[in-house]
């Protein structure tokens, strides 16, 4: 296990997240894909801190973790809002600004 192995794994995880982001239609499923991508980024931070030394990478990962939780909270509030407006949570429905 070298650093490049971990980076390759994180890239694969990020790509899977991008696939989900592009193909899903439900807002919650898109949020799940974004979680996958954030997780991949966190993985890179932790791996760098391990193989390069120093604690800064892990500190960064902790901050990123807290930011992700905040993002999920606000994202779910927006999902509830979307559901209240349209009785469904498909992203195609949120097209008010196009009119």
């Amino acid at each position: 296990m070298t650093l490049s192995h971990v980076l390759l794994l994180a890239s694969a995880l990020f790509s899977v997240g991008v696939y989900g982001l592009l193909t899903r239609r439900q807002v919650v499923a898109i949020l799940l894909s974004v979680e996958l991508m954030a997780n991949a980024a966190n993985l890179v931070f932790v791996a760098m801190s391990r193989f390069r030394g120093g604690v800064s990478g892990q500190i960064f990962a902790i901050f990123a973790l807290a930011l992700t939780v905040a993002e999920v909270a606000v994202g779910l509030a927006l999902v509830i809002l979307l559901y209240r407006a349209h009785s469904d949570t498909r992203v195609d429905l949120a097209s008010e600004l196009k009119q």
């Binding site: 790509s15 499923a29 604690v55 892990q58 807290a66």
Partner: protein
């Protein structure tokens, strides 16, 4: 050697569960698969010696975010039961884009010099981490706590039962001008929101 085998196993679990997250037809199942991915990530953190982060990952992500996500799925359903379809479209195009992205990233990793280091630095202890968090990075720490406070307030304001949804619905509904009822004499026009909160 054992570390490499553990890494391989965890990587396999992580990728398999991640693919299930984006391919599963059931939203609840997809959320639970995400829990598997996050647990595998915690295992990887433990392997690379970040034990504190591994436990935080389990507590915060698997405990908190997963519960929140399942709440989000359950709240936004009219019908009962666990049969929640997760629609997806454009699978082929999405797969091509994702594979292209992975190829680009892998090529970049391949081209970068000095990534094959196997220099094993000693694992970070929680005491070191705490000292760094509250001495060197204390400003960022405080800013983050402010951000979390703002997030809590923002989420409550957004999700509160207010007539934002009704306003959007009214935009869509065809509404002849004659059928708009006259406002009741007791409530004046501009304190509409405050009277709703009081009600």
């Amino acid at each position: 050697m054992i570390q490499s085998i553990g890494f391989g196993l965890v990587a396999l679990c992580m990728l398999a569960t991640a693919i299930m997250v984006v391919r599963s037809d059931n939203l609840i199942r997809a959320t639970l698969w995400l829990g598997g991915t996050l647990l595998a990530t915690a295992g990887l953190y433990a392997i690379v010696g970040a034990s504190f982060l591994a436990s935080v990952q389990v507590l915060l992500y698997v405990g908190g975010v997963m519960t929140l996500m399942i709440f989000g799925v359950m709240i936004t359903r009219r019908h009962e039961g666990l049969d929640v379809p997760a629609e997806s479209t454009g699978g082929v195009r999405g797969a091509i884009a994702a594979v292209l992205l992975f190829v680009v990233l892998a090529a970049a990793i391949d081209k970068t010099e000095g990534l094959d280091v196997l220099r094993v630095t000693p694992p970070t202890t929680t005491a070191e981490l705490g000292r760094a968090l509250l001495v060197e990075h204390v400003f960022a720490f405080e800013v983050l706590s402010l951000l979390l406070l703002g997030t809590i307030i923002g989420a409550i304001v957004l999700a509160r039962k207010r007539d934002l949804g009704a306003a959007v619905r009214a935009l869509h509904a065809p509404r002849p001008a004659a059928e708009i009822p006259a406002p009741p004499p007791s409530a004046s026009g501009d304190d509409d929101a405050s009277s709703k909160v009081a009600a």
